[in-house]
């Protein structure tokens, strides 16, 4: 039984966007107006102006169909999943597992290859903990990927702290060595250095698909293939790529990959760890307790197969249902068209910012292999002050180090101001951002 046939409230309404032939086209004005009408929040005001929400890389707004799906589930089918013999428990379990199948398909995996997590951070920690667990190997079939002294874990200098700190800890626990691929001045990975760093000692390559600060889309197919060729496990932080690009983890060769629901029109409190089933099967459990066990005695326990092995305790059911609605929404827009829209606006944003004296873009200066997260450093004005002035025009951007302190240090900054785009972003919003940004230095007497 699918969610469509279970009476779980209003059927999600999806935007009517036609699929044109040929290369993907960005949304036209009428389509964009229709999309924006699905997001109630976008009609509010901030500081007496229509809100211009340019912080979707931090968290995206949610369309009505996502909100309706969660509410519909809760009003019609809410129950504990995977237990109970009553009607509601069955409907809830169906909706939950339908969501797993739908979201897994969205990222190129089978249903049993998707583990629900709380967020991408938890997914990455789960992997790092599993690989540094001294008990790995005591559970049958696990332990092949366990880190040991002499092993190397390779990350990059552009990682979000969530894909850095867990590896620092895992290396400290195991005696493995942490290495990182440096960056070029224009915000790309130094691939020549990467070729030297990824070698026979590499046990894990953990790399971001798209940088949350620089917007850089990394050539992960090549990088992961190189790591696979030397026998390393590949881990992809796909938090910023899954919302913006068509992503197929199997095609990319990512053994394990994580993403986050709330950055892709879904709710907070849910994310995914998607992995090859052979790899998941060789990882030991991390969080233990109910729902993830087979046989328990007072002294011993055997564990279930993935994905349940990694889902101890009551899972985020209504959030999974809502995330399912989110990928349906994105699927109906067409991820190739989402990416095309992103490209058009990113180009406009980069060109607009380039005109402003005293403003420096961190990362690639063109939209090529780049998503619409554009971070800038304003000469002489701190990002907190930049963000405050923009807010006075109703423009909502992220300021700070964006959980990437080493990256900022690499480019001689402590923090930056980031504008980030999504399916509902408009050229007018980009222009408003550029116009307000152009006035910031003058406000603080620097222009």
């Amino acid at each position: 039984m699918s969610l469509d046939t279970v009476p779980v409230g209003p059927v999600p309404t999806e935007p009517a966007v036609a699929e044109p032939a040929g290369p993907a086209q960005p949304f036209d004005d009428a389509e964009l107006t229709g999309i924006r009408a699905d997001f109630a929040l976008l009609s509010r005001e901030v500081a007496g102006r229509p809100v211009r929400y340019l912080d979707s890389a931090a968290t995206a707004q949610r369309p009505r169909s996502v909100l309706d799906a969660e509410r519909g589930y809760l009003e019609h089918a809410n129950a504990a999943v995977h237990r109970g013999a009553h009607t509601l428990a069955e409907e809830a379990t169906d909706a939950f597992e339908e969501a797993r199948a739908g979201v897994a398909a969205f990222v190129g995996r089978d249903p049993d290859e998707l583990v629900w997590t709380r967020n991408a951070t938890e997914g990455l920690n789960l992997i790092a903990l599993a690989l540094s667990d001294p008990l790995a190997g005591t559970d049958p079939g696990t332990g092949r990927y366990t880190l040991r002294p002499g092993d190397e874990v390779v990350v990059t200098e552009m990682e979000h702290h969530a894909n850095l700190v867990p590896w620092q800890r895992a290396c400290a626990r195991t005696g493995a060595t942490l290495r990182w691929i440096p960056l070029t001045d224009d915000g790309r990975l130094d691939l020549a250095a990467a070729a030297d760093i990824i070698g026979p000692r590499t046990k894990v390559l953990a790399v971001t698909h798209a940088s949350n600060v620089l917007g850089t889309v990394n050539p992960v197919t090549e990088l992961l293939a190189r790591a696979t060729a030397v026998g390393a496990l590949t881990v992809l932080d796909a938090c910023q790529s899954v919302p913006h690009l068509p992503v197929d983890f199997a095609a990319l060769g990512a053994d394990l990959a994580v993403f986050s629901g709330h950055k892709m029109l879904g709710p907070t409190g849910i994310g995914g760890l998607a992995g090859r089933r052979e790899v998941l099967a060789e990882l030991p459990p991390v969080i233990t307790g109910g729902s993830m066990v087979e046989r328990v005695t007072m002294t011993e326990t055997t564990f279930r197969e993935p994905p349940q092995r990694f889902e101890a305790g009551t899972p985020p059911v209504s959030q999974a249902v809502a995330l399912h609605a989110a990928v349906r929404y994105l699927g109906s827009l067409g991820m190739d068209r989402v990416a095309a829209h992103d490209q058009v606006l990113t180009t406009r944003l980069l060109e607009g910012v380039r005109e402003i004296p005293g403003v420096r873009v961190l990362g690639p200066q063109t939209a090529e292999s780049r998503i619409g997260a554009v971070s800038v450093v304003v000469d002489g004005v701190h990002p907190h002050d930049v963000g405050q002035v923009l807010d006075a025009s109703g423009i909502e951007v992220r300021v700070g180090h964006h959980c990437a302190q080493p990256l900022h240090r690499r480019y001689g900054a402590t923090a930056s101001t980031r504008a980030s785009l999504y399916v509902y972003s408009t050229a007018a919003e980009v222009d408003a951002f550029c116009e307000a940004l152009a006035g910031v230095r003058g406000y603080f007497g620097r222009g």
């Binding site: 004005v381 701190h382 990002p383 907190h384 405050q388 006075a392 700070g400 180090h401 900022h408 923090a415």
Partner: protein
Amino acid sequence: MSALEQLYQQVILDHARERHGHGLRDPGDGRSADSHQMNPLCGDEVTLRVALDESGDAPVVRDLSWAGDGCSISQAAISVLHDLVVDQPVPQAREVVEAYRGMIRARGSVEPDEEVLGDAAAFSGVGRHANRVKCAMLGWTAFEDALNRLGVTAGPEEEAR
């Protein structure tokens, strides 16, 4: 006055440019202590040095100097702190810190006591912006920490902090 003007009052913008006490100085003779504080939201750091004159009955803040970069709120707040506490006996300086903290915590709901706070009263609007409270407190926290390191009369408020 717009919300922006309420936050960035002229006195704040002026202090942010002038940054009184900026640049760590040789503390000279007598006891001194440094405190290093960080704002985890933006990564801003400040190192603040307090030097005492302990020749009289009560210790006096002989000098306050500091290093670090940050937003205009954090920079202005340290500059104002410098002007308010240098040459003041430590007990009075601590009273100013308490009044300042109380004002920030009041989230704009209480008229600041300009007698005690002087230019620092301009920061009363900062408390309304939850994400900026840390900016306003960064250097003041460093000052208090430096006094504590010197062991000079941690008042009863310290316990509750």
